[in-house]
Symmetry: C2
Subunit: 324 residues, 2 copies
């Protein structure tokens, strides 16, 4: 196959890459996600990012053999649509993104999947999971998403809903999750949950620098950087909340390994990447006591591709047939 492009469509930016026929990174381009103009404006901006990446690779958009798209929200593969991507302006209703991008770019072969699946593919083919046919990828950010690769193939599931590790139950009757259910792992390890608990604790009179740091940095949401700085400053509440996040991530990861017997877990996402290797090592340490197989043989490692992972994974997606 010729060169392929991958697009990581995010709420604030659109990242594009071009991979050469050997699968190596040949160029990249990026633009802001338009806030006005709806889906049409977003499709236009995808074209801009794509042209930038193609040009950086010494190509025209017409030279691309295929384009892959990673998007937030649910994906309906039958229609090539994005559903319920609430943080994308103009995507309140389903958007037939696959066909819109094919029309706008003139590239006939366009593949579409959700951002977590393409991030998982990227880590497995080009990142920390290289050489592993079986792995679990976990992305901890505002929420917690996951991807499962078994026998070299991404497990999408019968309705495309596989990989929801953030909604595995780790505390029966436990804390309320942003999804509305109780005791999900994300209720402890997602940044939205962490922020809510920090606000509740502060409102109840608990001392913490978490909210001060947000204000100082002009943030309306609790970023991973704010959490990292609070940990650094020895903030007791921040340490408590991250202890809970580590325990919850570890329980869901260990449960998944006990069920599937994979030998690698790749931990990424904004929170994990900002807190870095010490966080990954703490999660690995907390996974071990829950593992049933003896001797346990699973390794927990940090994601390797960072910000470019989504776009690289989308380009990988474009290169291969869509699996079940």
């Amino acid at each position: 196959m010729g060169p392929t492009a991958g697009i990581d469509l995010g709420g604030t930016k659109i990242q594009a890459v071009v991979l050469d026929p050997d699968g190596e990174l040949a160029g990249q381009g990026r633009t802001r996600t338009p806030v006005d103009g709806g889906a049409d404006a977003v499709v236009g901006a995808i074209g801009t990012a794509l042209a930038g990446a193609a040009s950086a690779a010494g190509l025209a958009a017409g030279d691309l053999a295929a384009v892959g798209l990673g998007s937030p929200g649910q994906i309906d593969q039958a229609s090539g649509s994005v559903i319920g991507a609430a943080n994308l302006p103009g995507f309140e209703q389903p958007v037939p993104l696959r066909d819109l991008v094919a029309e706008a770019t003139g590239v006939q072969r366009v593949a579409l999947d959700n951002d977590v699946n393409v991030g998982t593919l990227a880590e497995q083919r080009h990142g920390a999971g290289r050489g592993h046919d079986d792995l679990l990828a976990v992305f901890a950010g505002s929420g917690v998403g996951g991807g499962v690769v078994l026998g070299g193939r991404l497990r999408r599931g019968l309705t495309g809903a596989a990989g929801e590790i953030g909604h595995m139950v780790v505390v029966l009757g436990g804390d309320r999750c942003p999804c509305g259910r109780d005791g999900c792992m994300e209720a402890y390890a997602g940044r939205i949950s962490i922020e809510r608990k920090a606000r509740q604790a502060a409102a109840a009179g608990r001392r913490t620098v978490l909210l001060d740091l947000m204000r100082e940095r002009g943030r309306s949401r609790m970023t991973s950087g704010v959490i990292a700085a609070a940990l650094e400053a020895g903030d007791e509440l921040a340490h408590e909340l991250i202890d809970q996040a580590v325990a919850a991530l570890a329980a869901a990861i260990a449960s998944s390994v006990n069920l599937l017997d994979v030998d690698l877990v790749v931990l990424g996402g904004g929170l994990a990447e900002k807190l870095g290797a010490p966080f990954t090592e703490r999660v690995a340490g907390a996974v071990a006591p829950h593992l049933f197989a003896s001797p346990p043989r699973v390794e927990v490692v940090g994601a390797a591709l960072g910000d470019l992972g989504g776009a690289i994974g989308a380009a990988v997606l474009a290169r291969e047939p869509l699996g079940p």
Copy 2:
């Protein structure tokens, strides 16, 4: 392929079946598991059960194209050995069962797997999972085991340890499991755990008929029949413990479905079969609120093959190449 036999090796009995070339049940035989004489006596008894099943099918053992074995304990596929099957007399050390049975029966092609995997295969090919390429099987008895079929193939895992749904964490920091870890599903839903809690509650002065029923029936262990009778009698503690079992089973099942997006869960094992359809329906009802995909499309059904499931699954195993 010609007729194949399957053996379900249990701590108290050895069940054999013969399937005709179309995979239909052609005969069965059964014998008690010898308590003296070690592994050699067990292999001899396997031969006896096999000869009985072959004879019932109008065949001699030499007519069999292949024999499959389902055994408790861990299986080392490389050596065809059973490891750590504590409830089989003479199996304290690893037993190279595959080769011993091939020698004893003269059948060259012998396949070996653990009892939960063959039970899962049986339900998927001949039982409640017929027609489903993707399913989760859960067997609740003294412990809780599980099997995962994805894309028509049993998931054994990289070390053969996949399917341990009983050791998924459903309550972080929760009750001690017989495996020695904390908060596993089996710590709430396995009969050994239920018995331990009943004994502790009774010792602490709690009124319950559970232990009286055991004594009346001359049981040293709490059987599924004792639990069923106590529920029937309106015993409050029994209801409480089964409520917990239902909740824990449901949490682990829902977590697995959220991770893998299968559309069928088959619930079997001594406890589930004795408590019957009302129990399965309660578990199904408790799974639903934890499901992330919307609308949820998973069905929870009772296992269909009962006592013969293991042997049928072993015969299915014998008919096909061993997957990863």
